[in-house]
Symmetry: C2
Subunit: 363 residues, 2 copies
């Protein structure tokens, strides 16, 4: 065997950092890749390309997710990354399908039906793909979207959303509640940690829907465009919250060269989850809510919150490169350990790390 | 368990046919997907998108292929599909990487180095991707390329290459010899069926290079464009020969609504392989030579053969929808059984079907 670190020694982020060295500088810095089309074919916009891999037992499980939901979630996770870049128009996606030969056709059919439903709802078509046998079911999806241009002239209405485009003083806006998807997973798993918590039927329905049928927020981008204050140049920091709310905030703060100060009383919790002890932890780190987290100039942020009922301000970007990237508004650091999920990080060698707060389902 | 056929009951082609029902009509008919860019961003060309999945134990094996070669081959297979559509300009590719946590980083590094080498040689950049743990190493690659336009006005020089664009009377041109890659694999495996055949050092080197470092024929597209007879409209039938020479011919003939008549004495064999008993079978069905097979109007075909030393005419398309799609020039049908490789087709349930003529390595 070759010497040197194994993937489980590096962990996912170091692996991605190393892989980024093979790409143009900055190419791996956002949720998806921008492909300028202004040369040589004369286009004025960009194509946005995003690839996600979803593996059974890690990103989905037959116990909690039927094939249609697997397909929907796979498409939604990719389209959410397109929305996170500022796309409002989905071109389509390709699917690399791997499955053991014994896989029932009905499972595959269900997956593609779910994919198709998501595309009919949010735009785009299935463009193509490949399939192969393999020891494990998985989907490798590449989604393509269009963007008018990374930085259009003042007359144009829209540019890209980038993680690095936050600035000190920007208001952090969450486009919807966080923690619902994680609750939905716990309900589907009959998670004993729920104890005596008995969600009302409406919350149960919404939580399970959030887990099984997440909605990529392509609509949010339209709202951001529509409520830009007159004369204000396009500058929108942001990414999606597929890896959790805090992970999104940290990514924006780090890429923008600053810190984030969060208001503990203003977190985008779902009010119906208030009695659940895990509500706050799942809001911060549950993941897979597929909302957008945006850093906007205050007047723009206020206009968006007025226009989008689910949007909520929960903090600001600050200039000081604080020792901690994430702090509460009272100055105490925010504890982020145990909130993330890391592929390949797996001390005992028998599967990806899972814990109570991250049992499965990470995109 | 769900009732109904399993993937191993359907086989790869039927699976693809079924999956095609979820895409726009004709979307799965070529080697890659065309994305017209003329609306709404004002471009005049098309983007070409191709996804390939390569799974360890099926498409590559550590026994015969080091990580750099795995990466090169993965890129080359994708770029070959772009060339098969008429691309001369590669935009780049995304990589979905799956590997068990125990995988050495050095293996992954080698794979990406091989990918990078192929991109530096043939154009394009690594655009992004995703990675996940999984039980098996695999790469899901999506390549993007540009095309001036599916059917440009007469003043323009190029359109797409489509399988369906062959016409009766077209000459079938192979852009290079076939069977070398399969010989290279046999040499690397110390295949006992080689018996007393002892290739000279030059043939050994070329065969192993054909297997480990196949060259996508993006250069051929430039030659096809350059030698188009004056005034002749753009119409080029074709695809690549990744699945074997006969599979390529059959795909073109079927898509073009006709049959193909091949000259048994004009097959694109490598002369140095003449003494090898398997030479003819591996030329017809060995696969992975990644040449282009083109159907061209005779004067265009002659001009290409004059311009491209490795090109060779080996048959014609004929109008009669013969009972057999493939016939020899003396009228006898060409036997195609045992020449193809089929994912999921696997009667004994313990892995993909493999036989002496197709042990591994299919893209």
């Amino acid at each position: 065997m070759a010497e040197g670190p194994r993937l489980c020694d590096l962990g996912e982020w170091e692996l991605i950092r190393r892989l980024g060295a093979f790409a143009p500088a900055g190419q791996f810095h956002d949720d998806a890749a921008l492909v300028p089309l202004d040369a040589p074919v004369g286009a004025t916009g960009s194509l946005v390309v995003n690839t996600d891999v979803l593996v059974e037992g890690i990103h989905f499980s037959e116990a909690t997710t039927g094939p249609e939901d697997v397909g929907w979630r796979a498409a939604a996770a990719n389209l959410s990354d397109l929305a996170a870049m500022g796309c409002t128009e989905v071109v389509g996606l390709t699917v690399g399908l791997v499955a053991p030969p014994q896989t029932p056709w009905q499972w595959v059919e269900g997956v593609y039906e779910g994919l198709g439903e998501a595309l009919r709802r949010h735009g785009g078509v299935l463009l193509g793909g490949d399939c192969s046998s393999g020891s494990q079911r998985l989907l490798a999806i590449t989604a393509l979207g269009r963007l008018p241009g990374p930085q259009p002239p003042p007359g144009q209405s829209q540019g890209a959303i980038r993680r690095c485009d936050g600035r000190p003083g920007d208001v952090l806006v969450s486009t919807g509640p966080h923690g619902l998807s994680r609750l939905g997973l716990a309900l589907l798993q009959n998670d004993p940690s729920l104890n005596a918590f008995e969600p009302d039927p409406d919350l149960r329905r919404r939580a399970i829907a959030a887990h099984r049928r997440p909605q990529p927020r392509l609509d949010v981008v339209k709202a951001v465009v529509a409520c830009r204050p007159t004369g204000m140049p396009w500058r929108v920091g942001g990414c999606d919250s597929s890896d959790g709310l805090l992970a999104a905030v940290a990514a924006i703060a780090r890429a923008s060269g600053g810190s984030a100060r969060l208001e503990g009383e203003e977190l985008p919790l779902d009010p119906a989850m208030a009695l659940l002890p895990q509500a706050r932890s799942w809001c911060l780190g549950g993941g897979e809510d597929f909302e957008l987290v945006l850093a906007l100039e205050p007047t723009w942020a206020n206009a968006l919150i007025a226009a989008l009922p689910t949007a909520r301000a929960f903090g600001v970007l600050v200039a000081t490169p604080a020792p901690e990237t994430l702090i509460w508004s009272d100055g105490t650091p925010i504890e982020t350990a145990d909130l993330g999920f890391c592929h390949f990080s797996e001390p005992n060698g028998d599967g990806p790390r899972r814990n109570e707060s991250q049992p499965t389902g990470r995109q």
